[in-house]
Amino acid sequence: MDLLDLIDTIQSIADGVLFGTTYALLGIGFTLIFGVMHKINLSFAAASIGAAYASLLILSAVKAPAVVVFLMAAAAGGVLGGLVYLVGFKFIPLANPLATLMSTVGLLLLIDEIIVHTTAGVPLNYPALFSDVIVPIGPFNLRGDLMFVFVLGCVCMTVLLLLLYRTKLGLATRAVSQQPTASQLCGIGIMRVNILTFVITGVVGGIAGAMTGAAIGMLSPLLSLPLTVKGLIVTVIGGLGSIPGAIVAGLVVGGLENFFQFLRGVSERDLYIMLLLFAFLVFRPGGIFTVAAGRD
């Protein structure tokens, strides 16, 4: 491999890592809900894309600068998150671990279908920010839009971590995730914590959806399944329930994905990522940061 190839390889890995913040956010979303309820919300990525769509819809109604679209996506994501909880979790018998899996799959289909119906399945353009900015660092070029996505993702994660570890709400969330019965006795309303968790993850998801749209430059309902799969991969590789794990795994998966795409082309790329997931599941089901190995 000569020097140019090496530079190209590193460049593509760097691009992937920057985009990987989206995966990290998705992984955090899956992991947060798993942490509180020990359930996987399969409709999460679809809801995130749905929130991004909703923000476009709002943007087309109200003339506003493109930056606002991210705030709107976050808000829409929060609302959708609450709705997902009410429809997919609140009334489903939680004793059966597989029931919520199916109900959230149902929601995934539902959200996808609503998007297809309102847009007739045509991909929509999404406002990309700083897409014309390119920051040269040595022989490498960092794309402005990806940089923006990366910075936004980092800000989002920092805020989330502060929220979880420095506020009373975060304490309650962690209490419920570790000792549901005891925390109820301490006066923490599980229902309230659950809804709040779903709203917060919804906000995170909405931002992730908007970031995806901004990085690709368009939105399509076809995105929600691959993103669901990527989010699950990140969650499992990072270790179910581990937030640092999700962040690391998100960046790693993003980087590896682009690395494989550079080496083997787009059609083979996902094969290796799936292989990685499969290997993790079989040989190290607890993920990188083993938190709750073999739970559920």
């Binding site: 996987i40 429809v87 997919g88 009334f91 489903i92 018998p93 059966n96 671990p97 597989l98 029931a99 899996l101 199916m102 109900s103 799959v105 149902g106 929601l107 995934l108 289909l109 539902l110 996808d112 279908e113 609503i114 119906h117 399944l225 799969v229 699950l232 991969i233 499992v236 179910l240 059609s267 083979e268 996902d270 094969l271 799936m274 292989l275 997931l277 499969f278 599941l281 079989v282 089901p285 073999g294 559920d296």
Partner: protein, 313 residues
């Protein structure tokens, strides 16, 4: 019979196989998002067998089923150690790997001046067995249902047999089943193998029905549907998943006005049913009730007489 009706019924028949295949694993309490992989493997294997190797259809279907079962067992051995969620994700990962592999698979042979065989993402065209052998679509539909009825009767026998009861035991309480002397791992792998064979049969029939298959047909959506059929129709009997297929394809087909909203209805149906009937329409309790009524009408003869009590227990 009208072409349209033949088409609908053939589709229902073919999809029933993958619904049954997901159902076997549901019986053992595992959710698999990956049955479409074995459907795809069966479809490709059987299609290659007839179109490229010139095998007869029956051999191709059996071959597809065998390959489906074999691969299901191979995947089942490492993944079935995982439980619930982890197993579901592992099957999902496997199925996506299979789909991507089929997108990369190119194996074409020049037959009669035309290239035939899987051509990556462009799919596998010209699985022309039914045209070359002049099988009408009605005949092929009858063939599908003959295989389905045969499979179903085997299945009903299986459900009444010790094996079926063991699957249900494992589904209800895996640890407890182990404490009754049942090797849970072995039976789960067996269930996976049966599921793989069923999906393989369905795939083989599907390939010959449409004459054209492509990798993206076998994505997660198909797997999710096949799971949902069992959950809607019920886990009490093998008729459950068939009822699910009938509700989805048959009923929605009957109410054409709803066709555009089918996924919305379908998704909603799954969510509602999980709340009001967590084990589907035909769940164990209902099946037991029906069975009891049946026995009242037709008393079963030949019960074993009670032995003299007080003997060694």
């Amino acid at each position: 019979m009208d072409d349209y009706l033949i088409g609908v019924l053939s589709n229902i028949g073919v999809i029933s196989f993958i619904a049954l295949s997901a159902y076997v694993l549901l019986l053992t309490g595992e959710i698999s998002f990956g049955q479409q992989a074995f459907f795809a493997i069966g479809a490709y294997a059987a299609g290659i067998a007839t179109a490229l190797w010139g095998w007869p259809l029956a051999a191709a279907i059996v071959w597809g089923a065998a390959i489906g079962a074999g691969s299901a067992i191979l995947v089942g051995v490492p993944t079935l150690r995982l439980h619930g969620l982890y197993f579901a994700i592992a099957t999902l990962a496997f199925a996506e790997m299979v789909r991507i592999l089929f997108e990369l698979l190119r194996y074409q042979v020049l037959i009669d001046g035309e290239w035939v065989g899987p051509n990556g993402a462009d799919g596998f065209r010209n699985i022309r067995y039914i045209f070359e052998n002049d099988i009408s679509s009605l005949q092929f539909m009858i063939l599908i249902y003959a295989v389905l009825v045969a499979t179903l009767s085997m299945f009903l026998l299986l459900e009444r047999s010790r094996l079926g009861v063991i699957f249900r035991m494992i589904g209800e309480d895996e640890t407890l089943a182990g404490l009754q002397g049942i090797s849970v791992a072995r039976h789960k792998v067996l269930a996976a193998g049966i599921g793989g064979a069923l999906a393989g049969i369905g795939g083989g029939l599907y390939a010959h029905l449409t004459t054209y298959i492509e990798p993206r047909s076998f994505d997660v959506m198909l797997g999710v549907h096949s799971l949902a059929y069992g959950l809607i129709g019920g886990l009490g009997t093998a008729f459950g998943p068939l009822l699910g297929v009938l509700i989805d394809i048959g009923l929605l087909e009957a109410i054409r006005a709803l066709a555009g909203y089918r996924m919305i209805i379908f998704g909603g149906l799954v969510a509602i049913l999980l709340i009001i009937r967590p084990r589907g329409l035909l769940d164990e309790k209902l099946v037991h009730k029906i069975g009891r009524m049946w026995r009242l009408i037709l008393p079963r003869g030949g019960r074993v007489k009670l032995g003299p009590s007080g003997e060694k227990i």
